[in-house]
Amino acid sequence: MTALIEVRNLKTYFHTQDGIVKAVDGVSYNVNRGETIALVGESGCGKTVSALSILRLVAEPAGKIEAGEIIFDGIDLLKLSNEEMRKMRGAKISIIFQEPLTSLNPVLTIGRQISEGLEFHKNMSTKEGLQEAARLLKLVGIPHPERRIHDYPHQFSGGMRQRAMIAIAIACQPQLIIADEPTTVVDVTIQAQLLELIRNITKELNTALILITHNLGIVARYAHRVFVMYAGNIIEHGNALDVYHYPCHPYTAGLLTSVPRLDESRKNRLIPIEGQPPDLIALPIGCSFQARCAYAIPQCQREKPPLLEVAPNHYAACWVSQKEQRPWQKKSL
């Protein structure tokens, strides 16, 4: 079964005065129809940029997709003309951004912001668009949608705005939705509702979902597969549960230990990953995590580890991990 979308060796750089920021430096991943994958990593590791690259929304003139292919339903999106790409956005692939507070046009009613996409892609009239918008708002759980479509964003709470963003994203029944940290800004109770909502909708419409987050707790529960990113590269990917329980890369392990776990006794102290992510302009030779890695071996400094299969359907880019010993894994499981 070929994947709905396949990103092959994507490179997206930012040309700034200080030098070239290699935000996405040779990333490959794929998503099957109806499947949900998670892109995980600290902020600034390139997960959002890779998503924006799919939609070719990288902020010009600084940002530029240098190399790679993005095959979506058999077509390489990078080869499409602007016009053809524009037809894809919103219709085939849509995105839910992180900050609902600033991602909605403050001077346009919520209804119009939902119906806009419909008017273009499904050439509905504004009236029909608004009716559909009301239906969508109802679908995403907003009370009295017929009245609320005439409200402005500043009359919605943070959670409701994010629901509106979801409504916008699913308006044209896209085949792929990219959710860029959809729940980071809202509080935890709303977070769970939103994620349940997204999951139900993607299941109902058989939509593929790329869930971008730095919260591993979400990954285990909502994603089939997970890709861990660090400094512009994918350093580990595999089935969500495998990676969750048997992390094959010290960074992933570090992520897991820095998050409180229900199934752990509360006595253990949380161990943060020391230091800062490297500056993407002056990446070190060898493994970019070696400066912060407790298990680094001399080879790590010399050579960049390739992404190899270290367990069935479980890949990792780490010299130590390929030697079958993973001291960072807990004995008990």
């Binding site: 956005r89 219709a91 046009n105 346009l108």
Partner: protein, 305 residues
């Protein structure tokens, strides 16, 4: 919003009253009167003239008479124009000045906003530097120099357009462009500055992520959010254009009302001064009222509680 507009109209009357009182007192405080001429008039003649035009009455009585006249829409008579009524003079010249002013305003808005947005969207590109050059030139050359350059090029050298006067369409073009130059440059730079603030906002990225036509993104998402400062300055610029410019009307000999204010002051023609000052104050106050109303329409977050 209509309740707010009505309240503002009442306040407008207060503003006009204050402006009229300030102007009336300034007029009488300023040295030189309407009857001072190179060849001094005999004192009894000056007395007779003062009596004829009611200038011999105490200050507040004169001001009272003026206000009474205003109620009937009569702005008094002009001494320097064979006792023609000021209201009549204004009404006669207004259509001409207004036509010219509105044409200039449209040109200014068209050039200003399109150049401003282009300069912002293509920051530090050739069109951005063009907009800087364009606005600097039209701000550093005073109106009268620009007017004469246009006249030399299009009338004297190319013989395309008449040098001035009024009546045919060809006599609107040069004055309209001369009038529109500075406001167009100003609007262009203001649009650029505010568009720069808006175009990096997240909702613009959301709009593009919905696959909307670029034109729609530009107008409905970017322009609409960057209009506030543009509208703010467009209001007073419109008022200035519609009430006429001394310089352009003098050089292109246009029989509008642009010159009345300055002529009135230099001739100490009290009727003319009051008429032109109040007319301008009225137009600018209305323009600012419209701007405030537009605020509410453009940005729903702005409300006048």
């Amino acid at each position: 919003m209509t309740r707010y507009a009505i309240r503002r109209i009442l306040w407008l009357l207060v503003v006009l009253l204050v402006v009229s009182f300030i102007t009336f007192s300034l007029m009488h405080l300023v040295p030189g009167g309407p009857w001072d001429r190179e060849k001094q008039l005999a004192p009894q003649v000056i007395e007779a003239l003062n009596r004829k035009y009611g200038l011999d009455k105490p200050f507040f009585v004169q001001y009272g008479n003026f206000l009474l006249g205003l109620l009937h829409g009569d702005l008094g008579i002009s001494y320097s124009y064979q006792d023609r009524g000021v209201t009549q003079i204004l009404m006669q010249g207004l259509p001409i000045t207004a036509t010219l002013g509105i044409t200039a305003f449209i040109i200014a808005i068209l050039i200003g906003i399109s150049l401003g947005m282009a300069a912002a969207l293509k920051q530090n590109s050739w069109i951005d530097y063009l907009s800087v050059l364009f606005s600097t030139i039209f701000a550093s050359i005073p109106g009268f120099v620009l007017a004469i350059i246009l006249m030399v090029v299009f009338s004297v050298i190319l013989h395309w357009l008449p040098t001035g006067g009024w009546g045919s369409v060809s006599q609107i073009i040069m004055p309209a462009f001369a009038l529109a130059a500075l406001p167009a440059a100003f609007i262009a730079r203001i649009t650029r500055a505010s568009t720069l603030e808006v175009m990096h906002q997240d909702y613009v990225r959301t709009a593009r992520s919905k696959g909307l036509l670029e034109r729609v993104v530009l107008i409905r998402h970017i322009l609409r959010n960057s209009l506030i400062p543009v509208v703010t300055i467009a209001g007073p610029e419109f008022a200035n254009l519609v009430t006429g410019s001394v310089i352009v009307e003098t050089i292109f000999s246009i029989p509008g009302i642009g010159r009345l204010f300055v002529q009135g002051i230099f001739a100490r023609d009290y009727g003319l001064i009051m008429g032109s000052v109040l007319f301008y104050a009225f137009v600018i106050a209305i323009a600012n009222l419209v701007v405030d109303i537009l605020y509410g329409m453009i940005d729903p977050r702005i409300r006048y509680d």
